[in-house]
Symmetry: C2
Subunit: 211 residues, 2 copies
């Protein structure tokens, strides 16, 4: 943490969609980093050591530029403000608002209602159905928003922070068998992102802690 | 929506903490607006007319500069980018990341787990206890973050977007009898904000739709 030149360290979990948002942005911006897995399923985030690093006991947490940052959306905005290459926000304020509205539709209205912490509080038999329902509802809203904003990606033709958040939410959608029938725009964007190296390398299946 | 010079219109609900975030920012920046209440308790957000305005069927929704914006955090960032007076983000990227991390701790990790939509899915006898628990957990994390960031307000000595989000979350904390005993920094910030006119006028009790 003292050396501002050292390689960034990302505390991550392969299944964590919030971690994947940051993995994608780091890859897009060409920032080499060390992944330090925190096994959420085994409760490693609740250890005293990790709580010291990140009081929310969530991943991701990124050590970069001599500082420790938490919260995926705050990290994405920080990377965007400090690394000018591969811009992930448009320049027009209204388009930026469109990007951030999609980011919030996923990161505030969808993912928090289906994350591991919430699912573990439900009886095991209800978890998958709950996750499927909230992800379906969330993605239906995003699909509707994309009617007004999408080009080749969520907002216009370039990859933005909205795509960095949408694609990891789709990992969870597939995991819980969400029906993509009514989500044609989302499916198109997923297809376009899937061929990009930055998204491929951030996928859960490509992580060092993936069993 | 055609007239970029017309008075901004905020679709709001007096109890909605997400609406209050935007009401505070509009007041701080001196933007006069017309409040159009949407009665969430009576399900007005599910009407066809409102769904047309905002596919997420949530409040707030802000008509401004000839456009319609949704998602409170996206609206806050838009106001900050387009209105330079009364800046609500610091200039330093790390401090901006601190502000946004607190914003996310509230708007992603706390409020969505206790909003009306989630509470209505629980048996009535469990709602208050659920809300109290998730708000207590969320505010405990924020209190810990404030150890490193707070001055007179959440990040440093000036009001930021973090305060615009924290204070409305405290309305809900009081409503559900959260114990503030272990939240001294939050209590101090609440006291300082309570004497500011912009926060006072945004309070739920001051809204035209408050019964």
């Amino acid at each position: 943490m003292d050396n501002t030149d050292s390689k960034p360290v990302l505390y991550t979990y392969f299944r964590s969609s919030a971690s994947a948002r940051v993995r994608i942005a780091l890859n897009l911006k060409g920032i080499d980093y060390e992944a330090r897995p925190v096994n959420l399923a085994q409760g490693e985030q609740r250890s005293a050591e990790y709580a010291e690093l990140n009081p929310s006991r969530l991943v991701p947490c990124l050590e970069i530029d001599g500082h420790r940052l938490t919260q995926s959306v705050a990290i994405l905005e920080y990377l965007e403000e400090t690394r000018k290459n591969c811009p992930l926000l448009p320049t027009d304020p209204l388009q930026r608002a469109s990007v951030r509205a999609i980011v919030s539709a996923i990161c505030c209205d969808t993912q928090p209602l289906q994350n591991l912490r919430v699912l573990l509080e439900l009886p095991e038999s209800e978890r998958a159905e709950h996750a499927r329902k909230v992800i379906s509802q969330g993605l239906a809203v995003v699909e509707k928003m994309l009617e007004h904003t999408a080009g080749r990606f969520c907002v216009g033709d370039d990859v933005t922070l909205a795509d960095c958040c949408l694609i990891p939410q789709l990992y969870n959608a597939h995991r819980f068998d969400v029906d993509f029938g009514a989500l044609p725009r989302i499916k198109d964007i997923e297809k376009r992102a899937s061929v990009l190296d930055a998204f491929h390398r951030a996928h859960w299946s490509q992580q060092p802690d993936c069993p």
